[in-house]
């Protein structure tokens, strides 16, 4: 049991940090521009594909840095020539623009790379078991993912709290009008924040593409979960995104690894629902099958009872 808990915690933390790599950028973009970027997970996917293709020529380590930069430049162009244009029509068209963009990016990925999963593997240098826990070895690549995520978090924290650019971003999060009045070029800051956020998502994709599968459906798989995380954490709050990421990561991993159901709980108290009862399906449902909908139940509950999320400062 302890073994299961330890591994679930570790894997949940890992998944949570991966979620955080996407959600931090998304929440930053939302907090600053008011745009809920539907195509955010598409940039995550592009990161994975770019890194795979680049890795064929340059190796993994160069691609780890180059792919996010390329995706960030792409993100800057999307903001400059797409979003900024739609911005004048209001927030709903912005949301719709990114929604359409997600479609287009997925189709372009299908066009260039095809429908089948890519053979995107971890570099040989990381392909060894790092340590052994309860007789099961733990792969070094997972620890590397964790390290990348933590480095990113620390870097993001330092950038936001200790630099002048971070000060402007923080100011623009709450009062873009005042920041603009102080003479800062807010639209340009928007562009770079958008680029930065998509770059972070791409970094998540570079390692997430190895951890999961690099295929055209990966954005569609990841997108809604990242939304859940951002809304749970409170739109615009980085700390909230971190907490919610880890919460969702651990929760989902536990639901998958621990075989638990209402029936088991009932059996503990000596109670059971007859198998032909109306609620029998729900009663005998084990947690592994419930895992996919847990985040959405959390989301709906959170939005009903506390619409600003865990750490959000304002209602949207």
């Amino acid at each position: 049991m302890l073994e299961v808990i330890a591994f679930s915690l570790l894997n949940g933390l890992l998944y949570g940090m991966l979620l955080f790599m996407l959600s931090s950028g998304l929440t930053l973009i939302f907090g600053m521009m008011g745009v809920l970027n539907f195509a955010h997970a598409s940039f995550y996917m592009l990161g994975a594909y770019f890194a795979y293709t680049m890795g064929l020529y340059t190796g993994f380590w160069v691609a780890l840095f180059l792919a996010p930069v390329l995706v960030a430049l792409l993100g800057a162009m999307v903001e400059r020539y797409g979003l900024r244009r739609v911005h004048q029509h209001g927030h709903v068209p912005e949301l719709l623009f990114t929604f359409g963009l997600a479609y287009v990016i997925e189709e372009l990925v299908r066009l260039f790379w095809g429908n089948i999963p890519m053979n995107y593997r971890m570099p040989e240098a990381l392909n060894f078991p790092l340590f052994t826990l309860f007789g099961t070895s733990y792969p070094a690549f997972r620890v590397f993912m964790l390290v990348v995520a933590v480095v990113m978090f620390v870097g993001l924290y330092l950038l936001l709290k200790k630099t002048r650019a971070g000060l402007i971003i923080q100011g623009s999060l709450s009062r873009p009008d005042i920041v603009s009045a102080l003479g800062h070029n807010v639209p340009q800051a928007f562009m770079w924040v958008f680029a930065f956020g998509t770059g972070l998502a791409a970094l998540g994709g570079v390692i997430g593409g190895i951890h999961f599968v690099t295929e055209p459906g990966m954005a569609f798989m990841m997108g809604p979960i990242v939304f859940v995380v951002v809304v749970l954490g409170g739109l615009g709050s980085i700390q909230g995104a971190l907490i919610a990421s880890i919460l969702i990561g651990v929760l989902q991993t536990f639901a998958l690894s621990v075989d638990w159901s209402l029936a088991a709980l009932g059996a503990y108290f000596g109670y059971a629902v007859p198998p032909d009862h109306f609620f029998a399906t729900l009663w005998y449902m084990d947690s592994t099958r419930l895992a996919p909908i847990l985040p959405y139940i959390l989301l709906v509950l959170m939005l009903i009872f506390r619409p600003r999320g865990l750490m959000g400062k304002r209602e949207t």
Binding site: L36, E107, P307
Partner: protein
Amino acid sequence: MNTTQERVAAGPNASAAVWAQRLWPWVLGAGVVVVMPVIFTSSYAITLMSHMGVMIVFALSYNMLLGNTGLLSFGHAVYFGLGAYTAMHVLRYIQATGFGLPIELIPLVGALAGLFFGIIFGSVSTRRAGVVFAMISLGIGEMVHASAHIFTGFFGGEAGLFGNRTVPSSLFGVDYGPGIAVYYLVMVWTLLAAVAMYLLRQTPLGWMANAVRDNPERAQFVGYSPQMVRFFQFALAATFAGLAGGLYVLVDEIVTDETVGMIQSGTVLLSAYIGGIGSFFGPVLGAILVVFLEGELSDITDAWLLYFGLLFVLVVMFAPQGIFGVLTQQFFAWRAGSWRGSLGPRLYGVASLVVAAIGVVAVIEMAYHYFRHWNPAEPMALFIFEVTVTGPMPWAVALTVAVAGLAAYVGHARPMLRRAMGGGGR
């Protein structure tokens, strides 16, 4: 908006001319419905047109939310799908027990199911508009879609559920085996639903929905609860979506979990928005266009989803009023005489855009051939030409055409158009 109000106020005393003006789109629509199957007689075309009817109801119901009330939903397929599933269960129940519900009324079962789930989910999600509503709708949509894989008893699992529409009795003694009979049944329901939704726009609730969309605080100040208005609109929209789901069951006789899925929610959003959410008939046009493109374009080209996405992005960026909105705008401009003197530049602008579009389509088609065909060196048919995409020549030509068309529009036609229209841009 004022003229509509006056017309509504005119009520039963309206003159014949006003009635004619009010009724001609419906008469025209009914006429088209009757004539179409005479022209397109293949069973494929009949099914396609039946799907159009289903989509029209669905898109119109979606516009009750987005266009009328300003609620952007990413999970409207939930009510469509749950309506479809409930109707399918009733159809199967009739098959199993011989229960006497006539087939013409099965869509009503879907509508009731839509209303039921609309009341449940609407009561928790309509407290706020904007992004919060959009997110809740997304969450509910994902939740229901994921539930489809869990509660396999109701949703029928991977294979879905199927039924047989010829088993139930008919009110009018019609045999619904052939597609044409179902087509007319669907169209009667579509017209009824469209009229109902049109009239709902003219009720005080419809007007208040517009007020809540534009300025919830003021609406509240006048004494209406925005939440209640949103809730009523939401429940009604869900009802009509459920009705569309019930119609879908009659056409296809199969329901799978895709009907509650995100793709279906996205399709209805695309249909309504591409057509134009600002007017009643916009979503009708959008639904017809989207179903047609889904059915026809997918036969012609592999790139149809890309064109679909690009069309949507372009509409959002350059024509937020939708295709129907652009057409009516141009029509009124023409009637007001503002085309005079600018006809040349207008034609020039359209022509340059068409040239650019041809170039872009050529590039996309060649790219699909190059990357997706098992043998890219094999010549492909492109418009009226036959090209080999492994050489640089066709690429250079296509790119030149695209860039030249675009450059002509941006650099020459657009400034000319602005000058001709007296400085004011479109």
